[in-house]
Symmetry: C2
């Protein structure tokens, strides 16, 4: 059932022993939103905890210190930034998939799975929704909550660069700075810090980047061996997909990361006019119009080359028709 | 003489045939501020033009289309974002150095050189000052002015990431978006677009980056031959200095760009606590506390190695004492 934000606040106000669930491969928005909400609920005298199927990346670990560890049997599960049950990942899906009372989300696509869902696709980040929820809960915005929400807003907008950024996003970020979020320090930590291992990965990525469809599609394959040798975490490797889209003329950038089991985790980043979510839906994935993801299973593509071929074909079909025509005319 | 912003507005209101001067090696802030002001003045029925000692980089060329080319003999010169006369560069210094009526600036250091100077070091960008000046001039904020000012604010804060960014900066950016600045398009153009040549340069930079002082100082030398071979513009190479500071553990990143005449143009980027301006002042340069520049002349350093040695020594002296002690203890 779709509900209003006031309804959501009423549900949370009436609940206790609250478990907040993040999506799998957690990013700054799902984590920042979850820890901000947990801290706010704890501040209201409730027991609250955060959980998810995957460990947060190193850069997000500071969020854990924003809440007090509390042992309790959850009686109310709320998910943040989770568009579909499957995005809970395992083991959270099996454990909580059909028992989520409330979902707070900002995705346009997705399949409501919670008993009650509040979603606002105009919000750049789930953290914006938590920001608006706080006064309805009567929870004050302290520096810790502000830092967690800033993490969500900043990372989900690529540091206020993506087209999802609105004037409202910037004003919320301003309010979060005023409430004590150290924006410069957070941005440095979240967006502008590279390990030496990542430096090595970046060099290899730049060397191995390939171009298709007349330079409109950039493809980057990260074999398991490269990832292991550079010693980068999955979270660090998340910085590679945006690199593909930065190159002049590239309308769609595709990054394939080989998983331990031989599957490829695919990230697609596009320029406006090319729908990344549409490309990924062909392979059972989804996401935003300019940033989406999917998995290509080993059974479907025995090697990286076959996966690349299939992805480039999907990109080709998603390119605007006039663009193709224009090139043919040239 | 230091004046108020109201005084500055009165001076401009009483003037006509106005030449707006940018600093040498113009960046997004000096250019964005200049074109925004020129467009506003033209909108008020005045003749106005923009000039500077160096050509704007390719990514800033769109700004030119925001004003109407007008031929006139300037009767009033105003500089924007120019902290000292020497930063006008040649030929503007000889032509206008002692005839600038008004300087609009936001630098903390610098030597006032205009008849009247308004400076506000709390402003993240000169564009913030022009934004505040517009209503005092009675000039409406249209989409063109908004795009130019957004260019200034976004580039001078590294896309709202640098510590100079304030809540006010973000609110101004929000107002500029509402006035019609296409933030996503501008950020992509200004901050997130790389040519294929730059991709090649980046690969070489990452391969040749060197570390000193126990990893706290990263140094990157760009020989003329590398810059020429990659076919990147000076403007594109501006993206290299910030890369040095992004590496974990680096407190100061130093980039040396070989000029045609064998001099080295040096850019220093630092973490908080290490004063980049202080390092550069030793070599006759200056700038902000976390981003500064200077030139090391061929006479003073016959080769890159000597220049690197001198710079690393200057960085060493600028490192916080407790940091050195801490490392020694470890």
């Amino acid at each position: 059932m779709l509900i209003t934000l006031h309804d959501a606040a009423r549900m949370l106000s009436g609940a206790d022993d609250i478990l907040i669930l993040c999506h799998r491969y957690p990013d700054g928005d799902t984590l920042g939103s979850a820890y901000a909400l947990a801290r706010a609920l704890q501040g209201l005298g409730k027991r609250a905890a955060v959980d998810g199927s995957h460990e947060p990346g190193k850069r997000y670990r500071f969020l854990r210190e924003l809440i007090t560890p509390q042992a309790f049997e959850p009686r109310f599960a709320v998910s943040v930034d989770v568009a579909s049950a499957s995005l809970l990942g395992e083991p959270m899906l099996s454990r909580w998939g059909d028992r989520v009372e409330l979902s707070l989300d900002h995705h346009r696509t997705g399949q409501p799975f919670a008993k009650c869902t509040f979603t606002d696709p105009s919000a750049a980040a789930a953290a914006e929704i938590v920001f608006r929820l706080l006064p309805l809960l009567g929870a004050p915005l302290d520096a810790g909550i502000a830092a967690a929400l800033y993490t969500g807003v900043s990372t989900d907008t690529g540091g206020f660069r993506f087209p999802n950024t609105t004037p409202e996003t910037l004003r919320i970020a301003a309010a979060l700075m005023e409430a004590g979020a150290d924006a410069a320090r957070l941005n440095r930590l979240l967006l502008d810090t590279k390990s030496r291992g990542f430096l090595e990965l970046e060099r290899r990525v730049l060397g191995a980047m390939r171009f298709f469809l007349g330079g409109r599609c950039a493809v980057c394959v990260l074999p398991r061996e490269t990832l292991d040798r550079c010693g980068v975490t999955d979270d660090e490797a998340d910085a590679v997909p945006p690199m593909t889209r930065q190159i002049e003329g590239v309308l769609a950038g595709v990054t394939l990361r080989e998983k331990e089991n031989g599957d490829f985790r695919v990230s697609v980043r596009t320029q406006p006019g090319v729908d990344a979510a549409r490309i990924c839906r062909r392979f059972g994935g989804g996401g935003h119009s300019e940033a989406a993801g999917c998995t290509i299973h080993r059974e479907d593509a025995p090697d990286a080359e076959e996966a690349v071929r299939r992805l480039v074909r999907a990109v080709e079909n998603a390119l605007p028709q006039d663009d193709v025509t224009k090139e043919e005319r040239e």
